[in-house]
């Protein structure tokens, strides 16, 4: 028996490599100082889907909602082995909180239709809410396995998976179709395939065509490029609100009950630095200090 999967992914600012340039003195964010990346736990989710396909067969569709730039992570998903990718992008989707996001994703999933499993990362590093996955499951009326670390087996319409927490783990059985949120301790994403990297390098959304035509002289016009991409199945599907069966009031900002009441800006002012010698002793002292300051522990 084969299983079709949908993987929900998000492009996020790389909060792990925050440097002093990210926050201006006024406390606003300098986005260009933070590269946009594939949300780390979404990569674990994609890997889990790839393993299911490897063992049982089936198709993997990767879905993201975001600005046009999010096409980057969809290409990345193709390089790693996704079969299909879809970008949900529309001004009407913008400003969405977890509820509006889940509503939009749910509507897209219903349009895709044929699936046995939905995978998503436990949480995105820019919001840390861990709510979108569970909300999507609720809206689709599906059972969910959160904190999934691995899949033990799948048999007919049943899945057995391991959930991992700080204090232990749990093996659960669940009926398909279901939604899984995947933790960072699950298997890390396999490397991109060189073959797929090459094969899909021109995969694009229409707004990217001008740049491609400029780089590759053999495509004289955008129309010529479009024809080439269609023939090779390299057009990245973009769905707007009009493509979905949705109530527009529930999209984006207007569909978001969450209101930001106040934001506290933390301005990094400290400029002093301390040199730690790269010896066992130096590192031990550093760790001691971090523990004492309650930074780790």
């Amino acid at each position: 028996m084969t299983y079709n999967s949908i993987v929900l992914v998000k492009q996020v600012p790389d909060t792990r490599t925050v440097t002093g340039d990210v926050m201006s003195k006024k406390g606003t964010m300098n986005r260009s100082a933070m590269p946009a990346i594939f949300n780390p736990e979404d990569l674990n989710a994609l890997e889990m889907a790839l393993q299911v396909r490897e063992r049982y067969g089936g198709q993997i569709t990767v879905l993201t909602m975001g600005p046009l730039k999010a096409a980057d992570i969809l290409r990345d998903a193709l390089f790693h082995g996704a079969d299909n990718v879809i970008l949900l992008s529309d001004r009407k989707f913008a400003g969405a909180d977890t509820q509006a996001t889940a509503y939009t994703l749910k509507s897209a999933i219903q349009k895709i239709g044929d699936f046995d499993l939905i995978f998503c990362g436990r949480q995105a590093i820019d919001g840390d809410t861990a709510q979108v996955g569970p909300q999507v499951a609720e809206k689709l009326n599906l059972p969910q396995i959160t904190y999934t670390e691995s899949i033990a087996s799948m048999d007919g319409d049943e899945i057995i998976a391991k959930r991992a927490f700080d204090l232990g783990s749990e093996i659960v059985k669940c009926k398909l179709p279901c939604l899984l949120t995947v933790v960072g301790s699950a298997d890390r994403i396999r490397p991109a395939s060189a073959r797929k990297r090459i094969e899909n390098k021109l995969a694009a959304i229409p707004s990217e065509y001008p740049a491609i035509v400029e780089k590759w002289a053999e495509f004289e016009t955008e129309t010529a490029l479009a024809a080439y991409l269609t023939e090779r199945n390299l057009e990245i599907t973009v769905w707007t609100a009009a493509d979905l069966d949705v109530n527009e009031d529930q999209l984006g900002l207007s569909g978001s009950p969450t209101q930001v009441y106040k934001v506290n800006y933390v301005v990094l002012e400290s400029t002093e630095s301390k040199e730690v010698p790269p010896t066992k002793e130096g590192i031990r002292e550093l760790i001691q200090e971090l523990i004492q300051e309650y930074i780790v522990g």
Partner: protein, 574 residues
């Protein structure tokens, strides 16, 4: 930014940019007609070069983030021999899996078998990158080379059966030549092959030693098909799939490349297919197989040297003695400088040789197709074949000796800590040591090259390079080089006149001059590109002109004195 062993390597990127594979790819990609049929095939030259860049980027990522971080662990655990089977170290298993998942095994195979139709030059860059990360796993990765030999010499049925599995990374290979009594002298191989009339198959019996990855699924093996014969002409090449008649007797415990299993393998009536023509096993096919592998070992030595240089460089900038980083001391900076120049010089050489090998293969392909589209094909084929034949052993010799020199100096820069296990340089020194031994020792590379050198095989190429206009800024360098090239030619003529014993005795000196001269011209061409490259050329040529002069003098004066003296000197009891 995550680390990447291709994107952090300016020299490799420079080499890729300088590569001119136009003529090769035009043939290999059939005028880019393959692009219609295969989604991964390039549409044109620029597309192809972009693809190679992407491929090396994918590999560079795996090497930096998956393979290199566990290199020390792979070395420490090493390949194990358990219940008659080989088990790779856990880190090596992970490395192999990652390379497989990235579709990098079988990358040189043609499109129709599921390969990426890569040229040799790009493959050597891959070997360079993998070896920098962990040189033991390079031997497993590099043995995909035997799939290329199958592609070039086996019949269609055999190719259809084996090659797609290589391209999918489902099977890997071993190259099985050496025996206890047949090392450098492969003509004396004794493993017997006889044709079993009843079963309608060849069968092999014998023991092979020092077989890298002898646990592999597919073996290419050299055996004596002509009972009673004693020389190379009685040997044929066979292909077999490992079954219960193939027994791994042991694996060696050795100085370096611990992740690479070195096996003793016994064949007991093992069924096998003959590859190519009977009796051409060593003289044609094994030589072709080894030539590819020799270039790869050269690239392996460069990768290890790159790793060693980087270790030495960062250590030299951290270590404070006499109130300053030791990198600032002229003696230490000189070491760093010469390492860097030698590594870049070797890469230039591997690329040049790789291009001639690529041309040779492309022309051979045209010839086998009776393609008449290139008017002077026969002449081009001859030129490429001559140059590939002389440059391959020279490159293997130079790069592997260079790798050893660089690792030695890199340890020196580390001082005492370099001698200790905790520092990577100790492992790199152990690993690099095999590169001038396997795939033919340095001495055997010289044996392979000397005939061609004495036949002035490099003259046309050197003359062509000398005819290039290097501009006024490089004029004095060019003059210097022209003089040393003259000296090389004179020394060649002088040595040619000597008795064969004297030729063998001084052959290494001529091989050294030849490699210095070839490399110097290559660096002079690079010097046209940037100031930094011009400086590298100056440093390298400056350092080597006097060496070339000394070697030239030694060859000119070559006589029996030293040869005869060995009788008296070595005869004396300890």
């Amino acid at each position: 930014m995550t680390e990447n062993f291709f994107l952090d390597n300016q020299d490799l990127q420079f080499r890729l940019k300088q590569l001119d594979l136009r003529d090769v790819l035009e043939i290999k990609e059939q005028g880019y007609a393959y692009a219609q049929e295969y989604g991964t095939a390039p549409r044109n030259y620029a597309d192809a070069m972009d693809n190679y860049h992407l491929l090396l980027e994918v590999l560079g990522d795996i090497c930096a983030n998956i393979i290199a971080p566990r290199a020390a662990e792979a070395d420490e655990e090493g390949a194990q021999f358990i219940d008659g089977e080989v088990e790779y170290a856990a880190a090596t298993q992970e490395a192999i899996l990652a390379l497989k998942q990235a579709d990098l095994f079988g990358a040189m195979l043609p499109w129709k078998y599921g390969g990426l139709n890569l040229p040799e030059t790009i493959y050597q860059m891959m070997i360079d990158i993998v070896s920098r990360a962990e040189s033991g796993v390079m031997t497993v990765f590099g043995l995909q080379e035997i799939a290329s030999t199958i592609n070039e010499h086996a019949d269609d049925e055999t190719k259809d059966y084996f090659l797609p599995r290589f391209a999918r990374g489902e099977v890997n290979g071993a190259m099985v030549l050496t025996e206890p009594d047949a090392g450098s002298d492969l003509g004396s191989v004794q493993t017997r092959a006889f044709f079993d009339e009843e079963a309608g198959t060849w069968r092999l019996n014998g023991v092979k030693r020092f077989i890298t990855n002898g646990n592999a699924d597919v073996h290419l093996i050299l055996a004596r098909s002509e009972a009673g014969s004693r020389d190379a002409r009685g040997l044929s090449l066979f292909l077999l799939e490992r079954d219960e008649t193939v027994r791994i007797r042991r694996i060696e415990s050795k100085l370096g490349i611990h992740a690479s299993p070195t096996c003793e393998v016994q064949y007991d009536n093992t069924p096998a297919i003959m590859i190519g023509k009977q009796r051409f096993g060593l003289i044609r096919y094994s030589m072709a197989l080894m030539n590819g592998a020799r270039l790869a070992v050269g690239a392996q030595a460069i990768g290890i040297a790159e790793a060693a240089y980087r270790e030495a460089y960062s250590y030299a900038h951290q270590r404070i003695q006499f109130n300053q980083p030791i990198a600032k001391l002229p003696a230490v900076s000189r070491m760093l400088l010469s390492m860097r120049a030698e590594i870049e010089a070797s890469r230039a050489l591997v690329c040049e040789t790789g291009i001639w090998v690529d041309r040779l293969k492309a022309y051979e392909h045209l010839q086998s197709q009776r393609d008449k589209s290139i008017p002077d094909l026969r002449q081009k084929l001859k030129e490429a074949s001559n140059l590939a034949d002389v440059l391959t052993p020279l490159t293997k010799y130079y790069a592997s000796e260079m790798g050893n020199r660089v690792c030695y100096v890199a340890m020196q820069i580390h001082g005492g800590v370099g001698y200790m296990n905790e520092f990577n340089i100790e492992r790199l020194c152990r690993d690099v040591r095999v590169t001038n031994i396997y795939e033919g020792t340095s001495q055997l590379q010289i044996v392979a090259a000397i005939g061609k050198l004495l036949g002035h095989a490099l003259d046309d190429l050197l003359d062509k390079w000398a005819a290039v206009d290097y501009g006024s800024a490089l004029d004095s360098l060019k003059k210097q080089l022209a003089e040393t090239t003259m000296l090389f030619k004179k020394a060649t003529d002088a040595l040619k006149e000597k008795e064969s014993d004297i030729i063998d005795f001084y052959a290494a000196d001529l091989a050294d001059i030849a490699s210095f001269v070839v490399i110097s011209w290559l660096l002079l061409q690079d010097a046209l590109v940037s100031q930094r490259r011009a400086d590298i050329a100056r440093v390298y040529i400056g350092e080597h002109v006097s060496k070339i002069n000394a070697l030239g003098t030694s060859i000119m004066k070559a006589d029996k004195t030293a040869l005869l003296a060995r009788e008296t000197i070595l005869a004396e009891q300890f």
